[in-house]
């Protein structure tokens, strides 16, 4: 909101400056005109006191120079305040009036046609000053002219007419004639003053209205801007505490108040707790709980009614009456925070000025409260979801850890027995122990898969800023799987063209992704088959293709391929350990990296998995 109050006369200095500069110019010309007239009259042989005119001209030139000096430049440089500007304007109009009166006297007094030029100062006063000053000028001029007329009649003040040579018409005017002159002039002058003042007044009011409109529009724009920044501020934060702090700070700023607070209802709805406050004394909010049932005011607000007061005096209305007056709070405004008809708390604004909140402020505050309520709801939902997800992951980690340790012990014992360390065993015993070992290992790899899945979810290990060199990835995959493939008599190849860009994501994550795909390919490809990993560049992505000549995936199973624990029937029938978790992990990683997966498979012929991974941001140092 504007720090400068809307002042209806703010435009005055500029207007006065402009008019003053115009008057200064007119005076130069008028002076020149008068001089020319005097010279011409003199040359034409008219007998009159020319030196008196020259004297008046000199005076005009003198004060016009002074005004010219003062009116150069900006209004705020020369004469700082509007009051000073009014004074300057008043002075020059006064001087003009005096000069014109003098010229009138010199050119024939009340009978002189110059007399009507005396209307000019009246117009000027009406336009530039106030109606009152126009009437005052009018009165002063009439007084001056009356004085002149009186002097002419009583003491024989000379009234040389410029129209009639003095010596040719040197007669005393009749008092009635003078009175008629004066009367007509007075009537015209007063009507002119009244008319000019009325027109100027109307115009000025319209200008002021326009100014106020513009001001209101600017205020409205600022409020919209603030609502937007509240939204932005609280929308970008997901932590409840952060949302509350941003919201209270922004609200206090928009409302231009000393402080603001958010009180939230406890889950049972019985208490209100100060959740955040801005600009309020520490003691005011620290551990403050309000029992709703014992606070009729809060009860009313929670029931959906806004509350506003401009005079915090009735202490019984407030549970913290002392605290409010200690903080010199005079005006308060409370608004229920509700989302979908459910009230979650109260938004409050506090101001030291009495009667601070207008109806428009209240309406605006209602809007702000709506936004704050949505932001709080949003943050709460986010936090709840996060807690649930964390708890689930923690539970999964714990369970899998606790399952692995005894299984490892079991397998160690089995191995010792099977290898004959504890004495010879017969073939049948050996066969059953082998089966036992296989079942235990299936369980172990299932637990491993679960652990990997849980860990992946626990912390998003996908760092979009990390970069991995494809060569390193390829090297690792080759090293990890070469022996296994050879053991199974499979042809295993990793193809890597030169100059591939780094891939987005950490090495460990990408390795895990590729390990799952390659181990599947090896697992489900019978002996003498082949497994190939091909890297390629494609449209801002790195394309990794893992192809095999294995058992393939039945078309009907493809949609469920990436679900946890899913295994195709033909995969289950193979004598291989599998958990059905590998592809779920692959999907999760690819999704987090913003990549894409494609499958092509034919039962009994083979499978091709294609993963498109985004190229890493350029400036980052690649992972080596």
């Amino acid at each position: 909101m504007a720090a400068v109050p809307c002042h209806p006369e703010n435009h005055l200095p500029w207007e006065l400056l402009e008019q003053t500069q115009w008057l200064v110019r007119i005076r130069w010309w008028a002076a020149a005109g008068v001089l020319a007239a005097v010279v011409w009259a003199y040359a034409a042989g008219l007998v009159f006191a020319a030196w008196k005119f020259i004297l008046v001209l000199g005076f005009v030139l003198a004060y016009n120079t002074w005004i010219y000096q003062r009116s150069r430049g900006r209004p705020d440089d020369r004469v700082s305040t509007p009051e000073n500007w009014r004074k300057l304007t008043l002075r020059q109009i006064g001087l003009d009036a005096a000069v014109l009166w003098g010229l009138t006297c010199l050119s024939g007094g009340v009978a002189s046609p110059v007399m009507f030029s005396l209307l000019l100062p009246v117009f000027c006063a009406a336009a530039l000053l106030s109606p009152r000053s126009a009437y005052l000028f009018c009165a002063a001029i009439l007084a001056g002219l009356s004085l002149t007329a009186l002097a002419e009649i009583t003491v024989g003040f000379p009234h040389p007419s410029i129209l009639y040579p003095v010596h040719e018409l040197d007669m005393l005017p009749h008092p009635l004639q003078l009175a008629a002159h004066l009367g007509i002039f007075a009537a015209v002058a007063l009507l002119a003053a009244r008319f000019a003042a009325a027109v100027v007044h109307t115009l000025r009011r319209q200008v002021d209205d326009l100014g106020r409109l513009r001001q209101a529009e600017a205020d409205f724009g600022r409020k919209l801007q603030t609502l937007f920044s509240i939204m932005e501020g609280i929308g970008s934060a997901l932590k409840l505490e952060q949302v509350l702090n941003t919201a209270t700070a922004e609200v206090a700023l928009v409302m231009q108040v000393k402080g603001s607070s958010v009180k939230l209802l406890t889950e049972d709805g019985k208490f209100l707790r100060y959740a955040a406050a801005f600009g309020l004394p520490e003691s005011f909010v620290r551990d403050q709980m309000v029992e709703v049932a014992r606070s009729p005011l809060n009860k009313r607000i929670i029931d959906g009614e806004a509350f506003v007061t401009g005079q915090v005096t009735a202490k019984e209305m407030f549970q913290f009456g002392e605290a409010l007056s200690a903080a010199q709070i005079q005006s308060v405004l409370f608004m229920p925070l509700h989302v979908e008809g459910r009230v979650m708390g109260i938004l409050g604004a506090y101001c030291e000025k009495p009667a601070r909140f207008s109806d428009r402020d209240i309406e605006f505050f209602r809007l702000a409260a709506g936004l704050v309520a949505i932001a709080i709801e949003n943050a709460r939902a986010h936090e709840a979801a996060k807690t649930i997800s964390n708890e689930r992951n923690w539970f999964m980690m714990k369970v899998t850890h606790n399952l692995r340790a005894p299984l490892a012990g079991m397998l160690s014992i089995l191995e010792v027995v099977r290898d004959g360390y504890l004495g010879a065993i017969n073939d049948e015993q050996s066969e059953y122990l082998r089966r036992l070992d296989r079942r235990a290992r299936t369980m172990l790899s299932m637990i491993n898969g679960l652990m990997a899945l849980a860990r992946n979810r626990e912390r998003t290990r996908v760092d979009p800023n990390a970069a991995t060199k494809p060569e390193v990835l390829a090297r690792r995959v080759r090293r990890t799987f070469q022996d296994k493939a050879t053991e199974k008599r499979l042809a295993f190849q990793v193809n890597l063209p030169e100059n591939l860009p780094p891939i987005r994501g950490q090495l460990e994550t990408l390795e895990q992704l590729l390990e799952n795909l390659v181990s599947n390919a090896i697992k489900y490809t019978p002996a003498e088959g082949s497994v190939e990993v091909k890297f390629a560049k494609a449209n801002g992505t790195v394309r990794i293709e893992v192809s095999d000549t294995g058992i393939g995936i039945p078309a009907a199973d493809r949609p469920r391929l990436f679900t946890e624990f899913f295994r195709s029937e033909n995969a289950k029938s193979m004598d291989e350990v599998g958990t059905g978790l590998g592809l779920a992990i692959v999907k999760e990683i690819v999704d987090k990296l913003g990549g894409r997966t494609l499958i092509e498979s034919e039962e009994g012929v083979g499978t091709i998995f294609v993963v498109h991974l985004p190229v890493a941001p350029v400036a980052k140092e690649a992972h080596t």
């Binding site: 692995r404 090495l507 460990e508």
Partner: protein, 137 residues
């Protein structure tokens, strides 16, 4: 069988300790065991093992690592080779000191890291290699 050296097995899982003892003794090693870091430290004042097999998670999640670091900082034991065992290799890889490679770097106070359940053949081969290298220096 001839005595190929003294292996000190530190693990809180009695089954792992028992099976390790059987395997190692059958392959000509002498075996001493401890169930946790504290016991291991007190035993180390009396015995002079040639190699330590150390579990990562015992009383605490990082007890094995803590002990390994302590031994490497101790001038008396800094040359004592350590083979670390864990059921949670990927967890250790993710949370251990620095990225884990098959050849362990400076940050790792151990000579080798094995995942449980142990591959007996690889373990025996590794122990032999480490002890041989140690003898040569």
């Amino acid at each position: 069988m001839d005595n190929k050296g003294l292996i000190f097995v530190v693990d809180d899982d009695p089954d792992i300790v028992a099976t390790s003892r059987i395997i190692l003794e059958s392959n000509g090693y002498e075996v001493q065991t401890a169930a946790n870091g504290k016991e291991a430290v007190s035993l180390l004042s009396r015995i002079k093992p040639d190699l330590v097999m150390l579990d990562v998670m015992m009383t605490t999640d990082t007890e094995g690592f803590d002990l390994a670091f302590k031994l490497k900082e101790d001038p008396e034991f800094k040359d004592l080779p350590i083979i670390m065992l864990t059921s949670f290799l990927d967890k250790v890889r993710a949370e251990g000191p620095g990225p884990f490679e098959f050849i362990l770097g400076e940050a790792w106070p151990v000579e080798w890291l094995f995942e449980k359940p142990l591959d007996t053949k690889k373990l025996l081969a590794r122990i032999e290699a480490i002890l041989k290298a140690k003898k040569e220096t």
